[in-house]
Amino acid sequence: MLGLTLGALPHFYYQPIWVAILFLAMIGWRCMNIWQAWPLPSIYYKKQRWIQRSIAALAIILLLTHYGNLIGRDAGVALLTVMLGLKVTEIRSNRDYYLSSFLGYFLVVTNFFYSQSMITAGLMFVVVIIMTASLISLNDLNQSITNKLKTKLAGQMLLQAVPLMVILFIFFPRISGPLWGLPDDAYNAKTGIDNSMTLGAISKLIQSDEVAFRVKFDDTIPEQANLYWRGPVLWHSDGTTWTELNEQKHMASQPNIKSSSPIYRYTTTIEPHNNNWLFALDFPLSLAIPDNTYFTQDGQLKSNDKIKQRKQYSLSSQTQFTFNAEQDLFIQQALQLPDQLHPRTRQLAQKWRNQTGKPNELIQLAINYFNQQPFYYTLEPPVLTGDIIDQFLFESRQGFCEHYAASFTVLMRAAGVPTRIVTGYQGGEVNPVDNFFVIRQRDAHAWTEVWIQDQGWIRIDPTAAVSKERIEQGMSTVMPLTMRSPLLISHSQKLAELWQTLRNNFDALDNKWNQWILAYGPKLQKQFLSKLGMPNPNWQQMVLWLGILISTTLLLISLVIFYHRKRRDPIVHLYQKFCHKTALKRGASEGPVDFAERVKQQYPHHAKTIDQISQLYINLHYGDQSASIGQLKEVVKEFNPKKK
């Protein structure tokens, strides 16, 4: 029962609160039955039975209203939890016990839909031990084994099972799923960059510490200021929300990129975000993109399938490049502004437009404006109402990267310079433990690109004009300490540093876990096995190896289980040595005294020693422990009848 509760515990986090309450109430009911002899539902207690049934009916109705179905993943798990709770109240026969134990194992699996962290894995082992212990107690007559011993036995069995499990894990031929259609809610929405941008959305995102993706550079790491991880490109604005180009349009062709700078090679492991785009260092070589991906006209790297699982891909990028220098297909789209909106911004842009016609100078004017007027970079911008661009530019002047990117774009477009917004991540932190570059949700960023004839799309980051540190040193310098570490320890610099170190270590471990355990699928299996010396493993080979290894391991384990080293009594051992030296065979029923008599007849010269040995043996083995083993050892050693 404890196992069931533990198994269900993580679910409470995802499920509506009443599921947890119901489950715990049912467990409590059962506990009260054990401790206080409360009646359980049965044919003898009609009332309780009715209560239980109505709870079940109520639960189903509630689940239906909450999830709309009972078959989807979330609803199914919730249903399982509730029903298992109800089942606990009516466990009577052995069959019920077995069934609920096995269902408990099953409940553990459903946890993995939500989390596959190391902690969940640890919890899994604990639950399996408890379940096994409860199965043992079910098979233990009169409860003759103590609970501690049961748990120990269960733990032992589990330990003995681990080597087999490892072999199965490595060699069992993996099949890539899914085998059948998955329910719609199989992958829930994850936090992350979206393909539309509403002012205030990214600043919400930066509160999240979650890892967006990890990068391992093959050799050199680019400068922090060049670490722009390109994501969705936004063109269209309705005044508050910015969205992508129509998909079919920008899929049509690839951009014209000319690049010249050192090539950075790297491997990215992206966390699932349930969308199509991949993040790449601005700007990746189009020749070396991974399978099943493509480039859009505005330079997004997209995958054909949604990223529903952690995925790895290798890329090469160059940070110096020209993008569609001669012409761009969608230049008109980069000048679009919602009608009738942003009058004050348009006015300002018009004023600049009258001063100069050169795009370069217009950009400089805008940057100077951000620089010289009292603009502040803040992670907690005030809420804007009405015409938000006008509000921001002329009144609040406190904003986050998205505010700067959006208002800069509006200013430029109003001044007649084609501009677009690029979202993604900027910066990232190196984990000193394993040298992986970790990019978290809080590194989310938005910047702009401006198109100038013959120069192509040029990256302009208006945020840099306001807060240079954000771009050059990364997000963590801008973030106050309180936002990076738990509240209690944020006051002390030392504690916070310690926290950071611990976190780095844990993160590196977590990364290893992700890379090797969780990502172990058909592909990685193939790689790993070829490393082990199976050049082209097919499933027949794998099964063969699996069989051989399993049987050897089983043999070894059964030796461990059955082989018990005889702990020989040293006294008996010494006496046997003596018997051996006499070259006489001691009869099964012959006591040491009788035997000594016989030996004395054989070797009359040694009568004294023989008596001494026999007496010592008798004293040590049967009587008081006054004589020392050392003495016996000495005498037996000296006893050499054949030499005379």
Binding site: V109, T132, L141, I145, M157, R174, I561
Partner: protein, 321 residues
């Protein structure tokens, strides 16, 4: 090195000694079904931890099988005996079960097969075991006394039958068992039954009733107590003097001498009914303290009394053919 190998070989031979059978129980099948379900789910969702759990549970089942085997291995039934009982009562065999291994054995179940059927079906030999009785635990390297009772079937020698020791420990997903053929038997006395009165001692005995009147007074002296002497003949006063148990000897016992004869029950048509009647008489005669004898067509037992004599007579009845 060779010693290690030879030791291992010996071990192996010891293990091999008795044939041990092992099959999954219905919960075992349920268990494997759940594992399969988990594995399918894991494959479908490409869930690595799901794979791990499925593999872990599968390995756990494998280990459970070994443990289950260990729980039955190295058990030996070294001895069994049973006190004679009257037909109709349960006969209780005391089994000495020796656990030669270094481990505790938990929750084993002992059952016996009474009849040997011959059948064309080889699996038939696996079934037919009944009267299961559980035993909570066997301590390592110790012999445990266990009393196993069976209903008695008919007078005569009742075999204990082939024993089966089975266990589902530890997880209940495997049933392990082993057979213990043996030839231990118990003596089953006939059922004491019948309505005929005890024949009068005077009618058949040589001594006459008048002796009976003074019989009690014919004190002949003391004899040292032997097991089987009637309790009422113990000289308690004498014991109080010097702490030695003595039996008072009478020149003639109170009831005179009685020969129970096969002819006395000839009026009963059925042999079993005759034996039951004789059995009842013997019990009556013993409790009355009469010195009695038994004459069967194939066996004559002379006058005597006491526990041992009663057993001899009843055994003669039990084995009468």
């Amino acid at each position: 090195m060779t010693r290690v190998f030879s030791q291992l070989y010996q071990r192996f031979n010891q293990l091999r000694g008795r044939r041990i059978f092992i099959v999954p129980t219905r919960f075992g099948f349920l268990y494997s079904g759940f594992i399969l379900l988990i594995l399918l789910g894991a494959i479908n969702y490409s869930n690595s931890l799901g794979h791990i759990l499925a593999f872990l549970l599968a390995s756990l089942g494998q280990i459970a099988m070994l443990h289950s085997y260990r729980n039955i291995a190295k058990i030996e039934i070294t001895h069994a005996h049973a006190k004679p009982v009257y037909c109709g009562n349960d006969v209780s065999f005391t089994l000495i079960i020796d656990n030669q291994s270094h481990y505790h054995h938990y929750h084993i179940e002992i059952s016996a097969k009474q009849k040997q059927q011959r059948s064309w079906n080889p699996f038939r030999s696996l079934s037919g075991y009944s009267y299961p009785q559980p035993l909570a635990q066997l301590k390592p390297q110790q012999a445990t006394r266990f009393s196993y009772s069976l209903p008695s079937q008919q007078r005569g020698k009742q075999p204990l039958g082939k024993l089966r020791i089975a266990s589902q420990f530890p997880m209940g997903i495997f049933l392990t068992w082993s057979y213990f053929p043996n030839d231990y038997t118990a003596i089953i006395y006939p059922k004491p039954e019948g309505t005929l009165p005890l024949p009068n001692a005077a009618e058949h005995g040589q001594k006459i009733n008048n002796q009976h009147q003074k019989g009690m007074d014919d004190f002949a002296g003391f004899k040292r107590y032997r097991t089987g002497d009637p309790i009422h003949a113990i000289a308690w006063k004498a014991m109080a003097r010097d702490d030695v148990l003595r039996t008072k000897q009478f020149s003639n016992l109170q009831g005179g001498r009685l020969m129970l004869n096969w002819q006395d029950v000839a009026q009963l048509s059925d042999i079993e009914a005759r034996l039951s009647q004789l059995c009842k008489w013997i019990i009556q005669a013993e409790s009355a303290g009469i010195s009695y004898g038994l004459t069967l067509p194939n066996n004559i037992i002379h006058y005597d009394h006491g526990e041992a004599h009663r057993h001899r007579c009843l055994t003669a009845l039990a084995l009468y053919e």
